[in-house]
Symmetry: C3
Subunit: 345 residues, 3 copies
């Protein structure tokens, strides 16, 4: 049996105005279109307004403008999408009670673990590691020497954290992600690559979420730094000595090359990136596949890349790209001719 | 000693017409160019027809048109490439007998495992997991609570499957892949990100192959769905609530953003992708690096991206891209001038 | 306490000319800007020359041209960046003494391990594996049957190596990386995909470094081959039967499609790639996001992709891309008209 909550409890937690039956029981969340008896839904975008009249949800989170269009119970609140996010935690059944240290985990004698933690099967905890209260370490996770993990953080199965990494409070790190591997630093000596040992570490702030198969490399000298509230999706690459500012969000395959600083509240869409050794200001938005190729302090949206075409149309135009400079020169020449003729006439 | 098979056995299995010695023993598969004594080869493309006369293969899978060009033993069949694929299973030496549950594996008491399974060293099997007959779980694999894995499936080492995931029969999932991690869902509350707990699951059909370091996120509400016969390469990203139709193939780094539906028998080449909240019809082909940026129900090939140039040539033309709109307007003006002059004359 | 070294020891090892105090003790490396007492720095680029006069480093690696600008101790050498790389190994505190086989590791009875190795907790070593002297296998690493690992190599936590892989001496392989998973080979049989079992292996030479979350697939028939001295960053994809030549470097997300041969001393920048079944010559440089789309034997730099624009500017120009062929034809027509009029006059 899943827990249920009364609309009154939910309204109180969210600070929402309740219009309807305070005793109504909510068991699950669902979309307006699919919700039924016992389910709470939300209207976060005008695109879904058409479902308001027909939804079978037991209650809906709406802002005041739309409350009248709703027949059933309403929880009226300024930002229903944020309210949905906040209440979603109540319906997450994946949380488990803390279970202590699994007998198959290998914990170094010098590691310092809070009493209330979960260390999963086959986890490996290195020397002088510090793990604070409420931390959940999944199966097969490896934590290198001298690393610290702040209270309330959760590392899912098969995450690898190297030595000398500092992770703040309430981090969520998904499976196969790697924190603190060597940055890609090599000097070329007559054709052969000489490894530059990566002597820095990684510092991750509080309330950071990191997706699956993502990599954050350790610094060459000094640290790679992820500030509080940053959210990274799957397959993201943060190179050595990068600094990511507070509350910046990066979608899948976003990549920041070495020593670049990214500001606060930036958004990188899928496969967007930034070259190395530049500074990207606060509030920059890089659209999908955009490469931020030089320093920019101006907030706003940047793009590279092309639109989509049917392949035969694309091919006809794509071959012309290689003629663009020639076309520009011929256009200029025609304009000059035209102007000279106008003068002659 | 490796097993060998007679040409007759192979012909019978494939339904091929045998021309030559039915007792000839085959020990391995190889390319026409490199095959020798005891090896079976195939002609799958006219590009390799030139090797037919000189190949030292003991036998060759060919279609009827090419059989006469061959001196040695022939297995004549309509689609030699498919025949090569089917017979390749006989020569795969990596299969191992089922070995039961390794003593170092940690299996929850409430998990239900068929008798004939292999659970590798250091695997972790959660509560109420169901594992059917013939399943092979590699070393270090983690399976979350309430997940089911259908008969004949194989999960290679260090795969992570979260809770509430359903995997069908005969799946192959390669190492470091992550199924069921949280989708990238957050609501922005005055600059800070509030996590939307991802309450859905993942449903994977039968006969699905998933490469290494690939991620399939769980749904926010409702499930992410991969239909029967889908094949995904390495480093693929399937976001929350995506639906991939039967027999669709996606090469490395293909990425489908949240809530998008992809039809049946689509092909995504390397680094192709689709934006979120759209519908991609059956039979769509996205060429390498193409972004499907809007819903399309029309089968056929789509492209974005540019051709390759030597960098100095590219640079001359690339800077003109930013002048394209200006060039188009100037061209129009010249045409207008030219037309007016023609009228005057 | 960290070890320290005298400037004399360092100069002798590097073959540098020492100008200053040979007894000066060095404890760490640091950048010119941030170095202080007890730290050695280096000048690798004219961009940092301005810090030479003010650095508080105890000593600096410089080439002869810049030595006079320096007040303190100098180590004069032709290539200070290579010297920094070489000496960085002395300051890497992550190395651990070899610790033998951890009691939780599972090692097959037929595996042959040198005496001086470290096999980490929860590692799994398959049948007939050979592990040479000085090898370090991290926690949770899985090594498939019949694989060999040469002396001095280090595999970090949760690396997966499949069966039949050969890794040379002094390899470094970072976490979550997968060597020897199946190549993406399927034959299409009337809409359904038939798996082509991948019967080849992987051969990796000496002195190869491979980043985190990188994949190198096994060959379909014959091997995938990585030659000596190759360096691969994170999230790289090497498909089946690819051959990468000596000392080639590939940055994050570089991808080489099946059966392509890449020459020696190539450089692939981030998200660069090559299509399948082509040959890329020695010394080719693929700039970021460049797709090498046909065989090229000419060394030099190649590019695809677009520059970055503010999104409104980009949009105006991007829509014109689809009109390029039309524009080219209209331009040609205007030129023809203009020429004809010139003749008439």
């Amino acid at each position: 049996m899943s827990a249920t909550y009364s609309l009154q409890e939910i309204a109180d937690y969210l600070g929402a105005e309740l219009r309807g039956d305070p005793a109504c029981r909510i068991q699950r969340l669902n979309t307006l279109e699919q919700a039924g008896e016992g389910e709470l839904s939300f209207l976060a975008s005008k695109a879904y307004e058409r479902y308001l009249g027909t939804t079978e949800a037991s209650a809906v989170l709406v802002d005041a403008r739309f409350a009248d269009a709703l027949q059933g119970n309403a929880l009226i609140i300024a930002n229903p999408y944020v309210a949905y996010a906040r209440i979603s935690a109540w319906f997450d059944r994946s949380a488990q009670p803390l279970s202590g240290i699994h007998p198959t985990a290998v914990v170094a004698g010098s590691a310092v673990l809070a009493d209330a933690v979960s260390i999963g099967p086959h986890a490996t905890i290195g020397e002088r590691v510090r793990i604070d209260a409420g931390v959940i370490i999944g199966p097969g996770v490896s934590i290198g020497n001298d690393t610290t993990i702040g209270s309330g953080s959760r590392l899912h199965s098969n995450v690898s954290v190297y030595h000398g990494v500092s992770i703040g409070r309430n981090a969520v790190i998904h499976s196969s992600t790697v924190i603190g591997a060597d940055g890609f630093g090599f000097a070329n000596d007559g054709g052969k690559w000489v490894k530059i040992h990566q002597l820095g570490g990684v510092e991750i702030g509080d309330n950071v979420e990191i997706g699956a198969c993502t990599t954050i490399d350790r610094g060459a000298l000094g640290n790679t730094v992820i500030d509080d509230g940053v959210i990274l999706d799957n397959h993201v690459q943060i190179a050595h000595n990068v600094h990511i500012g507070e509350n910046t969000a990066m979608a899948a395959y976003s990549a920041i090359a070495g020593s670049t600083t990214v500001g606060k509240n930036c958004v990188f869409a899928g496969q967007a990136g930034a070259v190395g050794h530049i500074s990207v200001g606060d509030g920059v938005v890089a659209m999908a596949r955009c490469t931020i190729s030089k320093s920019t302090s101006k907030a706003g949206s940047y793009s590279s890349g092309l639109l989509m075409y049917e392949t035969p149309v694309w091919r006809r135009n794509a071959v012309r790209f290689g003629q663009l400079d020639d076309m520009a020169k011929r256009l200029k020449k025609l304009e000059k001719n035209s102007l000279e003729k106008d003068k002659l006439e």
